[in-house]
Amino acid sequence: MGFYLIRRMLQSLMALIGITLVAFLLIQLVPGDPARAVLGPRASASAVAALRRAMGLDRSLPTQYWSFLTNAFHLNFGFSTLQQSPVASLIWPRLGSTLLLTAYATVVSVVFAVPLALVSALRRNRPADHAIRLTTMVTFAMPAFWLGLLLILLLSVHLTVFPPSGYGVGFVGHLDSLTLPALTLGLGLAPLIVRTLRGSMVETLGSEYVEAARARGFREARVLRRYVLRNSLVASVTVVGVNVGYILSIVVVIENVFALPGLGSLLVTSVQNRDFPVVQGIALVLGAIVIIVNLVTDLGYSLLDPRIRLSGNR
């Protein structure tokens, strides 16, 4: 376990460095002068030169990267000239909303996915299974923002059950406003979980311990609950953990559909305004979250299932 732990943590560290490198090098890719791109064509040469100095662009690349890295390590992501505010103070207040939505959506998608996967696995290659697989294929091909608009039309405009946008007041208000976005994300993510779970459930249903449980005369409901569902919950947590990067990608889009004050909406306005320090900061924070969640998932799973860490030495 110790060896696996060290190896896995080294991998995560390399991924973190990779993310800082990409975020750092992004600004070097800007065609022409990044300071000019921020200030626009009508800015004076001296203003551009001052911003270049402020952004540190007049120093050598390794020096720039080193200070970028050490600053990021201290959670200092630079200063947004456009918003006249440190990037970190723009990011922290919005992180909570993004994480809350992500967690809520994950719960919703698991609630949708587990029963569907169970039915699909139990009725393998029967009409019910084909119907579920076709449905998940269709929802997978749906643009998340479009699904969000359909739900707004149905549940906000016609049925007025949930507010179409905004973040509400207090925790309950937040949850109320987040229900529609979470539903959108949950429906969008469920196919991902259903597919993986169906496979793992088919395997579990055919395994000897399920057969043994049935042979001992346990009722089918108990076999499913105690043996099949319990296993599948671990599997679905893993699916979510491994795909957290994909989930955050959709969260960023959905936040804009519902006008939520999260990192996604900040990211989109910053990209439009070419506010590079904010874009870099958000990429770093969300990238780091993905890496940490992946690491925790892997370690948790390998604690539960020794086969992972033993076969992982390949």
């Binding site: 800007v30 294929m137 749906m142 643009p143 559909v257 990429a283």
Partner: protein, 307 residues
């Protein structure tokens, strides 16, 4: 000896008991049914993927008006025979705009996938065939890229190159090749031990020739499955970014930006501008998914659309 054993241990179909013959028959029937099902899936998929561009090209011939020409006498008309998808807030025919966007969405989806596939097969092939430190370095990069919240980094590329298609092309290719590389490497690990590759090596063929002539054709099929998923995914990303105002800029029609243009009036009950164009994205997405899944089913790949 042979005669004696054949009487006690039946071999071949003739000696099977009735029960096992029945079992084999059922298995065979099920396999045929699954085969038919995947064939059907592939052909329905091909139909959906082809029908959208064909109808889009014929659209202007049938005539719903110019995609970008406003008509202030026909503002926000609900779907009708003259305007099957209705008209938007400046009286443009929504269906005409959807048709006008088809070549653009197909072009971005297919080109970014092709570029990702070429890069991914190249690097994955090298990693799998040669192994060693090359393999370690390439696969580390692949692992990192696959874990990335890619939408955020594609947006970052859009910030770099400014709103428009350049950032989307660069971003989608930068992250898309990793999936192809992973699959190609896994296939290559098996292929390099195969007899025909060993034979080619013994015959003294150049490595480049072995890779091109003997290995490449055998990694194409699983990569094709990945490619179908990538096309869906890249079209969805393009539509999402255009929806957010980061992709194709107005007045150029793009599926996602058409949906976005109807969002404010959706809230007051004028639903058609935002909802109907999304159906086309779903049709195209399901089409490509059916092709990919049909092929995956047929050849028993355990990877599917969803990563």
């Amino acid at each position: 000896m042979a005669i004696a054993s054949s009487s006690t241990q039946p071999s071949g179909f003739a000696g099977l008991t009735a029960q096992s013959a029945y079992r084999i028959d059922r298995l065979r029937k099920r396999a045929t049914a699954e085969h038919r099902f995947s064939t059907l899936a592939i052909w329905v998929g091909v139909f959906l993927v082809v029908v959208v561009p064909v109808v889009s090209l014929l659209g202007p011939v049938i005539g719903f008006g110019h995609p970008n020409a406003p008509n202030f006498n026909a503002i926000l008309q609900p779907p009708s025979l003259a305007h099957p998808f209705g008209t938007d807030s400046t009286g443009r025919d929504v269906l005409a705009r959807v048709f006008a966007a088809t070549p653009l969405d197909y072009e971005v989806g297919l080109l970014t996938t092709l570029m990702s596939a070429v890069i991914g097969i190249l690097f994955g092939g090298i990693a799998g065939y040669f192994g060693g430190w090359l393999d370690a370095v390439i696969m580390r990069v692949v692992d990192i890229l696959i874990a990335f919240p890619f939408m955020i980094f594609v947006m970052a590329f859009v910030a770099v190159f400014g709103p428009g298609l350049t950032g989307i092309y660069v971003g989608l290719t930068t992250f898309g090749w990793a999936f192809f590389a992973r699959v190609t490497r896994a296939e290559m690990l098996v292929i390099r031990e195969r007899q025909y590759v060993l034979a080619a090596q013994t015959a003294g063929l150049r490595t480049s020739r072995i890779l091109r002539v003997h290995a490449l054709p055998n990694v194409l099929r699983p990569n094709f499955v990945i490619a179908m998923a990538t096309v869906v995914w890249n079209i969805l990303t393009l539509a999402s970014l255009s929806y957010l105002g980061l992709g194709v800029q107005p007045p150029t029609a793009e599926w996602g930006s058409i949906v976005a243009s109807g969002q404010t009036i959706l809230l007051i009950g004028q639903w058609w501008v935002s909802t109907l164009p999304g159906l086309v994205i779903v049709i195209v997405g399901v089409g490509f998914s059916l092709i990919g899944d049909g092929i995956a089913d047929r050849f028993g790949y355990d990877f599917r659309l969803t990563v």
